[in-house]
């Protein structure tokens, strides 16, 4: 498996809605509430469980936002780790099933 080949999926316990370009996300388990900026929203929306994070960064972030690929990957991993810690995203080194309620 290539290094950093991680898969991300949205938790089934969350509520989410876009508001003026930002994504509101709330975890029903503890009512933690976040707003995601445009880049974070793009990653969140692409978190389908079977697209590797590196591919999401390459296809959805670098192409759309004109950022350095290595920096973008590092920022994305930090963002994913943070949302994973709050139960918003599920992270695995294997493809994940859909987490729809």
């Amino acid at each position: 498996m290539p290094e950093n080949c991680i898969y991300i999926a949205r938790s089934s316990a969350i509520a989410a809605r876009a508001l003026a370009g930002e994504m509101m996300v709330m975890n029903s388990a503890d009512s933690t509430f976040f707003t995601l900026n445009e880049v974070a929203t793009a990653i969140f929306q692409a978190a389908d469980g079977h697209t590797p994070l590196r591919e999401i960064v390459r296809n959805r972030i670098c192409e759309q936002f004109d950022v350095d690929p290595e920096q973008a990957q590092a920022d994305a991993e930090q963002f994913v780790a943070e949302l994973s810690g709050h139960g918003i995203l599920i992270v695995s080194d294997q493809p994940l099933p859909s987490e729809a309620p």
């Binding site: 509520a15 508001l19 709330m26 388990a29 729809a100 309620p101």
Partner: protein, 372 residues
């Protein structure tokens, strides 16, 4: 300002309906003495109609969705509706009397990641609660259901409507909430019946009993802050708006009617005939509601309470004008601070006139966390 407040303000400024209260039925298995609803089914929306409405609400940007009634579980398709709502990623809250929630229903609600379940409890004394609901053993069943929900780790809030017949029981219900590990809210709102019958208003607690509630730190937080005399309004205050009704919040009835708020019976359209966003964006009634600034209020713009009063435009509308005063809120402002309102002064009153049967509901007090 908290992140949630910032988002609320953003939605308000953009005119996005951030939150919607949807009653899925007016049918109920209880017959509460103070209830304002007609419990007959006059043609509720079908499952497909509600799902279509939810699709439209998601597209319109609605994030917070409250399902209520009637008793929501009287609909056999209620879980199908909640499933659809959660698939659309709404934050879902449910208001219920919970008597139809058993272990299986509690487990299903947790699986669906419902945010909060608000449950009506009128007294810590079974005989008082059951006399209000007119359903034998309803207290026992409701409390049992709360335990099922807590076992599933769900967040539960007890809503305690305060009226003459249970006015001495709110401390007991607070204690019960703490024992059950759930939140507690107190609500002294009694609303006239939908057909205009105001006899239920005789159940309202007298205004003179409000100070006891307003001086209870467990309910209002800092008494000094809550009961402080009003500050003079600034020009910016007078440019402000009453509340989120019609700005970032609305209510949808089981028959598809859209109103600015659950307490604001001004019809603005019906989603069986129009798209939700057409009603939200273009209804003349909705536009009128959102045009009203504090400076436009006929009496309240000159009132010293104008910045701190919880004046409800819906209750004012029921009294005769959405730009006029809401007497119940005048009463609340007076008993909270001891300072007469402009509405009282223009009638030559030094304290609110006590009239039973034709006054309008009182206030709602924000939910508070029960100490663990």
């Amino acid at each position: 300002m908290s992140l949630m407040s910032e988002v609320g303000q953003k939605a308000f400024n953009l005119g996005v309906p951030l939150a919607v209260h949807m009653d899925v039925t007016y049918r109920c298995n209880e017959r509460c003495v103070h209830c304002y609803l007609d419990h007959d089914d006059h043609g509720e929306m079908t499952t497909a109609e509600i799902k279509d409405a939810l699709d439209q609400l998601a597209e319109a940007g609605v994030f917070f969705l409250t399902f209520s009634g009637g008793e929501v579980f009287m609909r056999r398709d209620f879980f199908e509706i909640v499933e659809h709502a959660r698939r659309l990623l709404f934050n879902v809250k449910i208001k219920t009397n919970a008597v139809m929630i058993h272990e299986e229903e509690a487990r299903r609600l947790r699986e669906l990641a419902v945010d909060t379940i608000q449950i009506s409890v009128y007294s810590h004394r079974p005989e008082v609660h059951d006399a209000i609901t007119k359903l034998p053993h309803s207290f026992e069943r409701t409390v049992k259901s709360i335990r099922f929900l807590r076992e599933q780790g769900l967040r539960v809030t007890i809503a305690n409507v305060l009226m003459t017949v249970n006015s001495s029981d709110h401390l007991g219900v607070q204690k019960l909430a703490a024992e059950l590990g759930v939140h507690y809210t107190l609500d002294p709102t009694i609303t006239p019946m939908m057909d205009g019958d105001t006899s239920v208003l005789a159940l309202r607690i007298p205004g003179k009993e409000l100070p006891e509630v307003f001086r209870n730190p467990a309910l209002v937080g800092s008494q000094e802050e809550f009961c402080a005399p009003p500050k003079p309004p600034s020009n910016e205050d007078l440019e402000g708006y009453s509340c989120s009704a019609g700005h970032s919040f609305c209510y949808i009835s089981p028959y598809g009617e859209v109103f600015p708020c659950v307490q604001f019976p001004l019809p603005t359209g019906n989603i069986r005939q129009q798209k939700f966003l057409d009603i939200w964006n273009f209804s003349p009634q909705m536009k009128e509601v959102r045009s009203i600034q504090a400076k436009d209020l006929t009496v309240c713009s000159s009132c010293s309470h104008v910045t701190s009063c919880t004046r409800c435009p819906g209750l004012a509308y029921v009294e005769g004008s959405m730009r006029g005063p809401s007497t119940a809120d005048c009463e609340k402002s007076f008993y909270r601070t001891g300072v007469p309102t402009a509405n009282m002064l223009r009638q030559g009153l030094s304290k609110p006139r006590t009239v039973s049967g034709n006054t309008v509901p009182l206030i709602q007090i924000r939910p508070i966390a029960v100490p663990a």
